[in-house]
Amino acid sequence: MAARRTELEALYRRRFHVFLRVATAIARDEQRAYDAVQDGFAAAIRDERRFREEGPLEAWVWRIVVNAALKTLRDEPPTDVTPSVNGAAPSVDPELRARIADLPERQRTVLFLRHFADLDYRSIGEALGISPGTVGATLSAAHASLRRTLEEVPE
């Protein structure tokens, strides 16, 4: 168990900003995302025996953190779809922003996990409790949806 905790600590230190960025993308608020990451890792420490080593530790932790981030979203829906990162207003096309915000929750989450966390399909699947095939299909659908928006936006 001690070794597992040290692995968790190593994962945390190495990938904190990735976790925080994905959680921010999901929770749409950095403070809530930060709490999701911190509480997620704390929960992983407490529940470390539940990790069965049937997949990567990181995927297991992602599942916890993503659930925590989604929970914040369900508990307190954001009033603005724009993520607030330390008050900085990101510059992005409003239509694309709206399209990303409007993506089904699973598509959004898969997209962020693939893009920011650079997880493979299997790890994303383990993090979300879906098959790698479903990950691929979900990602493809998200891409298609966003690509349509990009194509519709004049240069």
Partner: protein
């Protein structure tokens, strides 16, 4: 490399810029503190061990632990077992010396399943290792420092208080407790949730094993009986659920409290200069995660205690690693004169204290809570030793060449803030088919924690706490509590669970409504059998949608 389209990548990057917050592992640990000791089966902690009895002079009167401290307990392990042990140790440097001699202490058969307890001594460390031959499982060595045994005031030293093996479906297949016994110990009784058991005594050790325990079964206390008729009870303070509702040990650290000659600019010269001291990562048998993602290939490692199983490494002046067996711990080096990593738990009643000392520190001493002091192996600025959890809090003191105190680190193995069990209110009574009544009491939410106590008319009174946080299982069976001729299931839920059903194998369903997230149910008479049974606690949302199914196993002890 992500396969997300470039325009989408750009959009996502713009949409969610790099966060600016910094990692804070200390904050993570603080968030675990009130509930760190989840699953006491895994993480029973010696820091709360309460020894009852006339402690003074007990071990002296019994002849103490001489066979462990100066002789050889038990008998030599079979050649095949010794070879297996040597092969495992020979794979890596973060292991005990390959020529460590394994001793067979106890061989016992429990309901047709054979278990063997082995022991060995390496330097100042005494270790036990259980092999479940029939189940095909082994524990890693569980060790205790010689100092803890030499100064023990109890006739038994609990090495692994409560641990278990699980089958492939994560159901308990065996539960066990083992430790070192003084020469005069004639019997060790194990009081568990499911009743009183006798441990096997042999080779100056004790071993208790139970096959197929009920879900949540835990060791509550151990009582050592001696040949001269005295007895001593070690209470483990076992509770259930997510939390450990006991406070800090209250003991004060001993030893020097003032630094006499502080080190102005702590540094480790050889690491700063990039010298390749010690050995590289290649000589470690690291697990894949540690090798791939954690321990950097440029780190250099040293084994401070040649007879220990711990190696300590540095990667330049930035990263500190501690490797034990195949697992690794680590962190960033601070500018303190002593950087310390403490690890422990897992039912094993000792902790490893390891780290790095800055140039100028030539000697390290640990002062424990009992006033004992002992030297810490130090080599090339790196150190490692084992300490019994009962010895915490500790002071790790570094001395300079003139014998002055150059650095002090106080180390604790705390349980987090106290969770009160006061102010519980009765919320319901549950009566079993054989007439045993459970009075269910629950407290209010405090610090996102809720505690409960269930008083049974037969005298049992388990307590537990669970966290009111948004993560974790939706339905969790904490334990199956025998009481008289009845069995009760105790568990808790989290939103959005509105109702819980117990599904038995013959299709019968018992419906429950949690109160304050807690549910308690008596198992119907039809299932009060000595054969092990599997049932499920199924959590439903308010819309009666299944959210989670949690299996639990139970049987009535004959």
């Amino acid at each position: 490399m992500s396969d997300v389209d470039l325009p989408v990548r750009s959009a996502l990057d713009a949409l969610v810029p790099q966060p600016r917050r910094s990692p804070d592992w200390g904050d993570v640990l603080r968030r675990t503190e009130p509930r760190l000791w989840r699953r006491p089966l895994v993480l029973a902690l010696a820091g709360v061990v309460i020894v009852l009895g006339t402690a003074a002079g007990v071990t002296a009167a019994l002849g103490g632990f001489d066979s462990w401290l100066s002789g050889r307990p038990g008998k030599p392990a079979p050649a095949a077992e010794q070879q297996r042990f040597e092969a495992a140790n020979g794979r890596a440097w973060a292991a005990f010396p390959r020529d460590t001699k394994l001793r067979e202490l106890i061989r016992t058969t429990v309901e047709g399943k054979t278990y063997v307890l082995f022991g060995f001594r390496s330097g100042h460390t005494l270790c036990l290792k259980l092999r479940a031959i029939s189940l095909g499982h082994s524990t890693d060595p569980a060790c205790t420092p010689e100092s803890a045994v030499a100064h023990s005031t109890s006739p038994i030293v609990v090495v692994n208080s409560d641990f278990g093996f699980q089958d492939r479906r994560a159901r308990e297949s065996a539960e066990f407790s083992f430790g070192i016994a003084a020469d005069g110990v004639s019997q060790v009784e194990v009081r568990a949730v499911d009743g009183l058991h006798k441990a096997v005594i042999g080779g100056n050790a004790y071993l208790w094993v139970e096959n197929e325990p009920n879900t949540g079964n835990r060791v509550l206390a151990l009582t050592a009986h001696t040949a001269n008729g005295s007895r001593m009870t070690i209470s483990l303070g076992t509770t259930f659920g997510d939390l450990f509702p006991l406070g800090r040990s209250g003991r004060r650290p001993r030893g020097p409290g003032r630094v006499e000659a502080p080190i102005a600019h702590p540094t480790i010269g050889w690491a700063a200069r990039g010298e390749k001291r010690g050995f590289s990562r290649d000589r470690l048998d690291l697990n894949s995660y540690a090798r791939t993602h954690f321990v950097t290939p440029t780190a250099r490692f040293v084994k401070p205690d040649p007879l220990g199983d711990t190696v300590v490494g540095l990667d330049g002046t930035h990263r500190l690693f501690v490797v034990q067996g195949r697992g690794a711990a680590g962190g960033s080096l601070s500018n303190r004169a002593l950087n310390v990593i403490t690890s422990g738990g897992g039912g094993v009643q000792s902790a490893t204290v390891a780290g790095a000392a800055a140039d100028g520190i030539v000697r390290l001493t640990i002062f424990d809570a009992d006033g004992q002091r002992f030297a810490v192996p130090l080599r090339d600025n790196l150190f490692a030793t084992r300490v019994a959890e009962t010895q915490f809090p500790l002071r790790l003191v570094g001395y300079d060449a003139r014998g002055r105190v150059a650095a002090i680190e106080t180390l604790r193995f705390d349980l987090g803030p106290q969770v009160s069990l006061h102010g519980l209110r009765t919320i319901r009574h549950v009566t079993g088919p054989n007439g045993v009544t459970a009075t269910v009491k629950i407290g209010g939410a405090a610090q996102s924690i809720r505690c409960w106590r269930i008083g049974f008319s037969t005298g049992e009174a388990p307590t537990g706490c669970f966290e009111l946080t948004p993560t974790g299982p939706w339905v969790d069976v904490d334990l199956v509590q025998p009481a008289g001729r009845d069995l009760f299931v105790i568990g808790h839920t989290r939103p959005p669970i509105a109702t819980v059903e117990l599904h038995f194998q013959d299709g019968r369903v018992v419906q429950l409504t949690p109160t304050g997230r807690l549910f308690v149910a008596a198992i119907p008479r039809a299932y009060l059998k000595t054969a092990r049974q599997l049932a499920f606690a199924v959590g439903y949302t308010g819309a009666h949608r299944v959210k989670q199914r949690q299996g639990f196993v139970f049987r009535v002890r004959p």
